[in-house]
Amino acid sequence: MKRQTGTRTEIQTSNDIAIEVKNLHKSFRLPTEQAFGLKQALFNRLRGIKGYTEQKVLKGLNFNIKKGEFVGIVGRNGSGKSTLLKIIAGVYYPEKGEITIDGNLIPFIELGVGFSPELTGRENVYLNGALLGFSNEEIDEMYDDIWDFAELKQFQDQKLKNYSSGMQVRLAFSIAIRAKGDILLLDEVLAVGDAAFQQKCSDYFTNLKNNNQTVVLVTHSMDNVRNFCDRAILIEDGKITANGPANEIADQYLKLFS
């Protein structure tokens, strides 16, 4: 049952590589015929069945991301983009290979992590903020800005379950963008809200780009890749099939579907 694990190291140096990924492999164990539960586990062991099938998701990735680079990661559904991002973020363990992160990493795998429908908007801001590493005092300071940006101030004492899903995402996004780190990992967070709010998000990304923030963006929107990314990486079936200038990769991605 021993599972090999690769390494993920966080360092702080002045070298110009922000993220280095070497020979990264990852597979998941998917339980077969309801291997959940003790009885089934016992039966499987007696019969000599593993009780799971191994699904290879990432098959040896190698790439670097430089400090100050805005890099897009693109690929079809199920190609392994999100798994890659989660491994970089430290949510999943690498099965094989080495990852080195140089600098303070802020991951947004999903907006509104920990949001609880039974709590008020105000309470959720503090909870979500804590998950992003903010203390209560820090949230106190940025509290008004968060609500102003989300344009939801009049709802702050309503329970979150009474918010529309668009409103929830706007609130989550407003908290998320307060986080300050050397490297931002963003998974599909651009497509939120109405046109006016989209514009705000777009401004935020332009701002990141102008400030030379290191960003890794997983997205399906080739407009975003062309507009914001310096470089893009195309992943197909767990392998990197292209790595280069954003426009070229965007074209190549669109060809996958033609």
Partner: protein, 270 residues
Amino acid sequence: MSIPRVLNRKNRILLAELTKTDFKLRYQGSVLGYLWALLRPLLMFAILYVVFAKLLKIGGDIPHYPVYLLCGTTMWSFFTECTAQGIQAVVNRGDLLRKISFPKYIVVVSATLTAIINLLINLVVVIIFALINGVDFSWSWFLVIPAIAELYLLSLGIAFLLGSINVKYRDITSIWDVFVQALFYAIPIIYPISMVADTSTLAAKIILLNPIAQAIQDIRFALITHETITTWNYLGNIFLPFIPILMTLALLFFGAFVFRKKSKFFAEEV
């Protein structure tokens, strides 16, 4: 994992905020709200008191028996709440584990801290009852602190161990529910240990080697009456009373070890 890293600022903020949320959510949507934290153990006590003390006339010779009983049920509720919530913690917080990276033990500790808050509220009630019932204040009251700490560490050990297995095999929750029911009768909560001692000294001694029984008897000794039979004054040996303490520590370290090893894969398995 060194201590400064375990208790760094970010983890402390997270622990505090998750505990607050757990506590708030527990009684959400109930009319009486937080009052249930008090009412639940009091009602349980009332039932046990009527059935065992009044109808079955158990515990007549123990001074302050109602408080003695309340004290036992309060500690028992703490133990069951702490373990039940702790074992479920990883599964309940699966949404967080799948999305952000943080030390996993935080979810277990935050779930058990909620039980500690409830215990502290209930302890105030026990003390008020004790004073009304004519128990005098004594400096020995402070001895409840190490006994509660022992009970907490034991619960934490169980929560770490079973909680990490529960991620894959959800049967653990149901098995533990039943086991706790059986355990309740193996511990002198509703019946006084002297009842067992009258028939078999050996049985009483074995019961007192259970860390939960030891802690509860110690708390009764410290808080209510020094006539309480405890592991320390009954086993008649200097070394034997340390067995429950060693059991607690062994379970805690083993539980933490297993949890740490398994926690790498919680995010993908939960």
